[in-house]
């Protein structure tokens, strides 16, 4: 093996030295150097692609990146962010330290926590992005906190989501305004509401939402789970669910697979109340013939959970400069404004719009509004996400109690 190893090493070193400028991790603080290194690179952006509007927006971003920065962005379609995490982990296990397949991941919450714990991310880089300042992190701490964990610059914010309920006003006229109300409503309207099956992200968020309301925003939720107290704190939640399940769709014997499936069930006429992470989901669905025009959106009166989603760069990406240029572009006013437009995607901006200059502010003025969309002022009441360990603990407990029927 000896001679072959030497030859391989020699060839590898020669190739590495030629490719060195692109392969070496660029220094995020020298932005001009980053842009220069980025030009001509192809960035493989692994992003969930279950929504064609998201895909359309990402395609628009690719076009802009090509024409403005000469960076080629390829959208790698995922049905589950976990598979991207699994890939990076597999690459690290195989010793692949600098030629990963993934350059940028759309990520947040548990997946981010897992990647940080296993040292799978490159950074810190987010705070050095020129457009990051537009988010005004000191006034908007949610752009640097991911499920109570500080991002520490290892991921860059991109968009905002908030749990929004929507209902078919032709089937029901008084939707519930709180979690306690929801139980009463379900008893009056059996089989017309459900939540996604755990461990789906949206379903788990419903559990957290219910727990926050039922425990009156107990402080323990924002710190790591303490085993001994878990049963006591979550007791009201399990009592609530025990009472609720028999009145749910399919009497709680089966749950829809994911958040978008709730929408499909409402489209089929099976559900008359559902919820989603995207405030514009219902309006978009009406525009795409999925839901009837009688659908209306609203937020619970005491506020609902909201979070920010981010993009992160794996430690072994060979195109870190291109990835950083992309992350920066995503934070630019024109990209954020396009994203928020109902005709493109409808995902909310992370920028502090009131602090932008006049030209940029104008980009966000949207004359279009849709009767099924959330009224503009309804999004002020956002609850913060609990610590990520609560998500895992709640999921395991739910599966233990209701996972077999």
């Amino acid at each position: 093996m000896k001679p072959r190893t030497t030859l391989t090493t020699a060839v590898a070193t020669a190739m590495l030295s030629l490719a060195l400028p692109a392969m070496a991790a660029p220094d995020p603080t020298d932005w001009d150097a980053v842009l220069q290194a980025a030009e001509g690179q192809t960035v493989y952006w692994n992003a969930w692609s279950g929504d064609s509007r998201t895909n359309r927006y990402i395609a628009w971003v690719s076009e802009q990146m090509q024409s403005t920065y000469g960076v080629n962005v390829a959208h790698v379609k995922l049905d589950d962010t976990g598979s991207a995490v699994a890939r990076v982990l597999g690459e690290k296990q195989a010793g692949n330290m600098d030629d990963g397949r993934i350059d940028l991941i759309w990520i947040n919450g548990e997946n981010f926590a897992a990647m940080r714990e296993q040292d799978l991310l490159f950074g810190p880089f987010a705070e050095s992005l020129p457009n990051f300042a537009l988010t005004h992190p000191d006034e908007n701490p949610e752009v640097v906190t991911d499920f109570t964990l500080p991002t520490e610059g290892y991921e860059s914010p991109w968009g905002k989501a908030q749990i929004t309920f929507y209902y078919d006003s032709a089937q029901t006229e008084t939707p519930p305004q709180s979690i306690a109300d929801l139980l009463e409503w379900a008893k009056d309207n059996p089989g017309q509401f459900s939540y996604p099956r755990i461990p789906d992200f949206t379903g788990s968020t419903f559990l957290k939402q219910a727990l926050i309301e039922l425990s009156n925003q107990d402080d323990a939720l924002y710190a790591p789970v303490v085993e001994a107290e878990f049963a006591e704190i979550t007791a009201p939640l399990w009592d609530y669910l025990d009472e609720l399940h028999p009145h749910l769709w399919r009497s709680g014997r089966s749950f829809p697979e994911s958040g978008p499936n709730l929408r499909a069930l409402m489209s089929d006429g099976e559900l008359s109340l559902a919820f989603s992470f995207y405030p514009t989901d219902a309006a978009v669905a009406v525009m795409e013939y999925e839901l009837p025009e009688s659908v209306r959106s609203y937020v619970l009166e005491d506020g609902t959970l909201g979070n920010v989603h981010f993009v992160a760069i794996p430690f072994n990406s060979p195109h870190k400069a291109g990835a950083m240029a992309l992350a920066n572009f995503l934070l630019s006013p024109e990209a954020q404004a396009q994203k928020q437009s109902l005709s493109m995607w409808g995902d909310r901006t992370v920028l502090a719009v009131s602090r932008l200059d006049e030209n940029d502010k104008a980009l966000f003025e949207q004359g279009e509004s849709h009767p099924s969309a959330l009224p503009a002022d309804a999004l002020s009441n956002t609850l913060a996400e609990p610590h990520p360990s609560w998500m895992t603990a709640l999921q395991d407990a739910w599966l233990q109690r209701y996972g077999v029927n």
Partner: protein
């Protein structure tokens, strides 16, 4: 690569010792026993039912027009990918689905969908129905390919001259000889049914799901320490598949003993009408179900908003097709290039093997079971290991690796489809050619291959369909960068927009369909003037 983490050894996650903790966690997981039983029984029952339906049809079919029509309708069903069948069926039988919409409110009086758990039912009946829909055409094709060498018409004629009813004659004279020839395809069906993932996700039970779905969820879990439990689960899945195969084998031995008497007891007509009627009715029902499922998909792909209980969508629109088509050009090209490359290489390999066996008159290849290993070991189990292994030897995910991965699955199906046709080809044709002085390669190229054109093209169509339908291999071995129609369809399915999913499922069906149509048409065109050369239908 999967065995090691199952026993605790995974350095990148800090597992440096061998231990059985993963198995303990697995065993303690709620619902595991149910999942295992679900996988085991759904696999066995699916195979049993599919075999039953195919055998009944073959016993009942007498070469009449109806029988030939049914036979022709069934073959294209093979082209529809599993996921598309699952989607179509899910929509067909759901409480808010096509059948209920057509019956409501006229026949049932329902204004709102009933709250019945049909799709995702806890016993897995919907899953089994979907699997049977796909496996019946497959077994039928395999049986039809194997039948001619048994001379079924002669056997049945002799039996009928002794007074046996046609159906009974077939069952007693032909089936015992046919079964050993289709044993391997039946095993492939059992293996697939016990470890299927995409159909189980759409139609199967959810609380708890079948074992393969659970294993996939654990592999994708953000909590990376689940990886150990996932590997243990994958090994368990392999065990379940083996157990199901073993049970079937034991069943075979049992049936052999028990039916000795029945074969010789001389009863000539009992059950004949049941066979005749049931055989045709069941297969017709299967075909109609599949076609209705497809019809549902077609309706959805052009539907505006479709309120329950309208029988048809309120408005029709081409929006969904227009939205999908621009983004689908590249995946289509990828699908075709990978599929054609894998099929071509597989065809060369298989034909070379078979030709070698034919030239030297070797008996059926003993090591055939090795070929079927990729079909029997659950994909989830070994693909992750394959990815890590490829990375370790610095083979980066790329198109070539994807083609190689597809080859693993395509070669067995190609071999299955082609081997019988090759073997039953009269060796005297080649001998005559050789006696006229041509070298062996010309005897092969100009005599044997043209005679086998029809079976070869059908086998290629089957393997193309198999390649198009592959999801996990494309995703993992391509590093997510090679997008095919199937990966697009599955990614879109997670978004829940049924209309767009229907468009993609139809596109996914179109490609193999074209392949099968070509496989049927080309021999007819090439041998327009030589009817005997066109091969069995």
């Amino acid at each position: 690569m999967v065995l090691l983490p199952a026993f605790g050894y995974l350095p990148v996650l800090g597992g440096n010792t061998f231990h059985l903790e993963a198995w303990q966690t697995l065993w303690a997981h709620a619902g595991l026993q149910r999942s295992v039983l679900l996988s085991y029984f759904s696999g066995l029952i699916t195979a049993l039912e599919a075999l039953f339906i195919v055998v009944l049809f073959l016993a009942a079919s007498q070469g009449t027009l109806l029988d030939r029509a049914i036979r022709r309708m069934v073959s294209p069903l093979l082209a529809i990918p599993h996921a598309a069948v699952a989607f179509g069926l899910a929509f067909l039988i759901a409480p808010s689905g096509l059948l209920v919409r057509w019956a409501s409110p006229g026949l049932t009086g329902w204004e709102r969908p009933p709250d019945l758990l049909i799709v995702n039912d806890p016993l897995g009946l919907a899953l089994m129905a979907g699997l049977i829909l796909k496996e019946v055409p497959f077994l039928l094709l395999m049986s039809l390919a194997a039948l001619p060498q048994l001379r079924p018409e002669q056997r049945v004629t002799v039996a009928r001259s002794l007074g046996y009813a046609p159906g009974i004659a077939w069952m007693k004279c032909v089936f015992p000889a046919l079964y050993p020839l289709i044993r391997l395809p039946v095993y492939a069906v059992i293996a697939y049914a016990t470890s299927v993932v995409d159909m189980a996700l759409i139609l199967g039970p959810t609380l708890p799901p079948t074992l393969s779905v659970s294993v996939l969820t654990w592999f994708n879990d953000p909590d990376l320490n689940r990886r150990f439990m996932a590997s243990a689960g994958a090994v368990l899945q392999f065990g379940v598949t083996l157990a199901a195969l073993l049970t079937w084998w034991l069943g075979e031995q049992g049936v052999k003993r028990l039916c000795q008497r029945w074969l010789a007891n001389g009863s000539r007509a009992s059950g004949a009408t049941a066979i005749a009627f049931g055989g045709r009715a069941l297969l017709l029902a299967i075909t109609l179900l599949a076609i209705s499922a497809l019809a549902g998909l077609v309706l959805f792909s052009v539907a505006g908003f479709w309120r329950f209980p309208d029988a048809l969508p309120g408005t029709f629109t081409l929006d969904h097709w227009l939205r999908i088509l621009p983004s689908v050009a590249k995946p289509l090209i990828n699908t075709l290039s990978v599929g054609l490359a894998a099929t071509l290489i597989a065809a060369v390999l298989v034909v070379a093997t078979l030709e070698h066996a034919a030239r030297y008159q070797l008996p059926a290849w003993r090591a055939q079971w090795l070929l079927y290993l990729p079909l029997i070991v659950p994909q989830v189990a070994f693909l992750f290991g394959l990815v890590v292994a490829a990375e370790s030897v610095a083979i980066r995910p790329q198109q070539a690796l994807v083609v190689a991965g597809h080859l693993l699955f395509v070669v067995p199906y190609l071999y299955l489809s082609l081997s019988e046709a090759y073997r039953r080809l009269d060796p005297r044709w080649a001998q005559v050619a050789l006696s006229l002085g041509v070298p062996s390669w010309r005897a092969f190229w100009q005599v044997r291959l043209p005679l086998l054109l029809a079976p070869l093209l059908t086998a290629c169509a089957v393997s193309l369909a198999v390649s198009i339908g592959q999801y996990l291999p494309t995703l993992l071995l391509g590093g997510g960068r090679i997008s095919t129609i199937t990966t697009e369809a599955v990614a879109m399915a997670s978004g829940g927009n049924r209309r767009l999913v229907a468009v993609l499922a139809l596109l996914q069906t179109l490609l193999p369909f074209i392949g099968f149509s070509l496989a049927l048409m080309i021999p007819r065109l090439v041998w327009a003037k030589r009817r005997q050369m066109r091969g069995a239908a």
